[in-house]
C-alpha cells in the first residue's frame, strides 16, 4: 500500500505549505490540540464517534440481513415491504431522519418506549436509531448482491435436500454470501464513521462536535479542524487498508503472488 503510506507525507507537506501561507496573518498554536483540556475533548469525541459507529454497524448488519432475506422471499407483500423500506430510507437525507427520530418520533412510539428512551441518553439513542436504519438500507443491498452472486443451484440443492427456504439461507447461502460481503460491509462502517458526524446537530458530543467546541472556546479553528481531519483520515486509511488485505489474503489469494 504505497498509496496509503504516501498519503500522510503529502498531507503533511500540504499542511506545512498551508502554515507558511498563513503565517503572517495567523498565529498557529498546535499545543492546544496536542495536550491538555482540548486534547482530552477531542479524544472523548473520537471515543463517542467509534462507539456510535460500532453499535450502529452491528445493529445495521442484523437489520440489513433481515431486510435482504425479506427481499428474496417468495411472498409478495413481504418483498414489497422490504423494497419500500429500502427505497424510502435510501432516498431521504440522513439529517432529516436524525431530526425525525430526535424531535418527532415521540408521537408515533408507544409510551413505554418513550419512557425508556428518555431514561437513557436520548441524543445518543436517537442517533443510533437513525444511523442504524439508514445504514441497514445500504447494507441490505450489499448482502443481496452477495446472495445473488451465489449460484442458484446451491439453493435448489439445499431445497431438494429437504431444507426450508429460511434454513437453506441460514446454513447454505448466507455463510458463503457473508464472506463476499465483508469488504462492502467494512466500507459501510467507514461511511458510518463519517455519517456519525451528523449526530452533532442533535448534541451528541462526537469528534466533529468537539472540534467545533474547541474552535468556539479558543478561536483556533484551523488547529481544531486539522486535528479532527487527521483523525478521520487515519480511520479511513486504516479501514481501506484492512479491506485491501482481506481482498488479497481471503477473497483473491491468487492475486497476491
Amino acid at each position: 500500500m504505497d498509496q496509503g503510506l504516501s498519503y500522510f507525507s503529502t498531507f503533511v507537506l500540504v499542511f506545512i505549505c498551508f502554515q507558511e501561507a498563513f503565517v503572517l496573518k495567523y498565529h498557529f498554536d498546535w499545543s492546544i490540540v496536542t495536550s491538555g483540556k482540548y486534547f482530552d475533548w477531542l479524544v472523548s469525541g473520537l471515543k463517542i464517534t467509534l462507539e456510535l459507529s460500532s453499535v450502529s454497524i452491528v445493529l445495521a448488519f442484523l437489520l440489513g440481513l433481515l431486510i435482504a432475506v425479506m427481499r428474496m422471499s417468495h411472498i409478495k407483500p413481504i418483498r414489497f415491504i422490504a423494497s419500500a423500506y429500502l427505497e424510502f430510507f435510501r432516498n431521504t437525507p440522513l439529517l432529516v431522519q436524525i431530526f425525525f427520530w430526535y424531535f418527532g418520533s415521540y408521537k408515533i412510539l408507544p409510551t413505554a418506549v418513550n419512557d425508556w428512551l428518555n431514561s437513557t441518553n436520548f441524543e445518543f439513542a436517537a442517533a443510533v436509531i437513525a444511523l442504524t436504519i439508514y445504514t441497514s438500507a445500504f447494507i441490505a443491498e450489499d448482502i443481496r448482491s452477495g446472495i445473488l452472486s451465489i449460484p442458484k443451484e446451491q439453493m435448489e440443492a439445499a431445497r431438494s435436500a429437504g431444507f426450508s427456504f429460511l434454513r437453506s439461507m441460514q446454513y447454505i447461502i448466507l455463510p458463503q454470501a457473508v464472506r463476499i460481503t465483508v469488504p462492502p460491509l467494512v466500507n459501510q462502517f467507514l461511511n458510518l464513521a463519517k455519517n456519525s458526524s451528523l449526530a452533532m446537530t442533535i448534541g451528541v458530543m462526537e469528534l466533529t462536535y468537539q472540534a467545533r467546541q474547541v474552535e468556539s472556546y479558543t478561536f483556533k479553528g484551523f488547529e481544531a479542524f486539522t486535528a479532527a481531519t487527521l483523525v478521520y483520515l487515519v480511520i479511513s486509511v486504516s479501514i481501506t487498508w484492512a479491506v485491501h488485505v482481506y481482498d488479497r489474503r481471503v477473497l483473491n489469494p491468487q492475486k497476491a503472488g
Binding site: 498509496q3 504516501s6 498531507f11 435510501r90 424531535f103 408515533i108 463519517k194 467545533r212 486509511v237
Partner: protein, 233 residues
C-alpha cells in the same frame, strides 16, 4: 393530544416550505435545495472530469497529488469539508463569503472527488484497443482521450452521474449547519416556531425529499437499462 397527527401546519406553511419568502425575499425551502443541488452538480461534473483525467495521467507527478487529494476528500465527512470551507474561503479570499456560496464550494469539492471515481471507471471501461487505434491514426494522447475515449465513456457514466445527483440532493440538507435556509432548515425553523408538530413536519420533509430522489433514482435505473440495451444491439 386530540388528534394523532395534524397536517394543518403543513398546509399553513406550504409556500414557505416550497420557495421560502421568494417573490419578496430570498429564495428558500425546496427551491433553494434544488438550486444548490443543480449548481453544485454542474460544477462537480467538471471538477470530477478534471480530477478523473488527472488521476489516470501517465505522469506520476500529476497522478499522485490528484489521487491523494481524491482519497483525502473521500475519507472525510461532508460536514468536515463544509466547516473547512467555512474557515478557509474567507481566509484565502480575504473577504466574507455568503453561506450559500460556502455550501456550493463544499458540495462541489466533495462531490467532484466522488465523480472523479465514476469518470475513471467509465474511461477504464473502454477497451484499450480504442486508444491504441486512435494513437496509431496519429492523434496525440489527449486528443485520443477527448475525441475517442471520453464520448464513449460518458455514455456509460450517465446513470452514475444521476445517482450522484441524488446523493447531492440529500447532501444539500447539510447546508442547514451553516444557516442556509434550504428545505431542512425551513423545517427546523417552522418546528421551532410552532413547537407542537415536529412529527408532521419531518415526515412531510422526508416525503418531499423522497419523491424527488426516488424519481431520479428511477430515471437512473431506466437510463442504465436503455443505454446498456442500446450498446449491446
Amino acid at each position: 393530544m386530540d388528534e394523532f397527527l395534524n397536517f394543518q401546519v403543513i398546509a399553513d406553511n406550504f409556500t414557505y416550505f416550497m420557495i421560502g419568502r421568494y417573490p419578496k425575499g430570498p429564495l428558500g425551502g425546496l427551491g433553494l435545495t434544488l438550486y444548490l443541488a443543480v449548481v453544485s452538480c454542474i460544477l462537480s461534473m467538471f471538477g470530477g472530469l478534471i480530477l478523473g483525467l488527472l488521476s489516470i495521467s501517465k505522469k506520476r507527478w500529476v497522478r499522485w497529488p490528484s489521487v491523494v487529494f481524491i482519497n483525502a476528500v473521500r475519507g472525510l465527512p461532508l460536514l468536515m469539508v463544509i466547516f473547512w470551507m467555512y474557515f478557509l474561503l474567507p481566509a484565502l479570499l480575504g473577504r466574507t463569503v455568503p453561506e450559500s456560496r460556502t455550501v456550493i464550494f463544499g458540495l462541489t469539492l466533495f462531490t467532484s472527488a466522488y465523480m472523479s471515481q465514476i469518470v475513471r471507471a467509465g474511461i477504464e471501461g473502454i477497451p484499450r484497443g480504442q486508444t491504441e487505434a486512435a494513437l496509431s491514426t496519429g492523434l496525440k494522447h489527449w486528443q485520443a482521450m477527448i475525441y475517442i475515449v471520453l464520448p464513449q465513456g460518458l455514455r456509460n457514466m450517465i446513470p452514475s452521474f444521476v445517482n450522484q445527483f441524488v446523493s447531492l440532493i440529500k447532501d444539500t440538507s447539510l447546508a442547514f449547519i451553516v444557516g442556509v435556509s434550504e428545505l431542512t432548515h425551513v423545517g427546523t425553523q417552522i418546528n421551532n416556531r410552532t413547537m407542537a408538530y415536529p412529527t408532521e413536519i419531518f415526515i412531510f420533509i422526508a416525503a418531499v425529499y423522497f419523491v424527488i430522489c426516488y424519481a431520479f433514482t428511477s430515471l437512473s435505473r431506466l437510463l442504465e437499462r436503455k443505454l446498456s440495451v442500446g450498446s449491446s444491439a
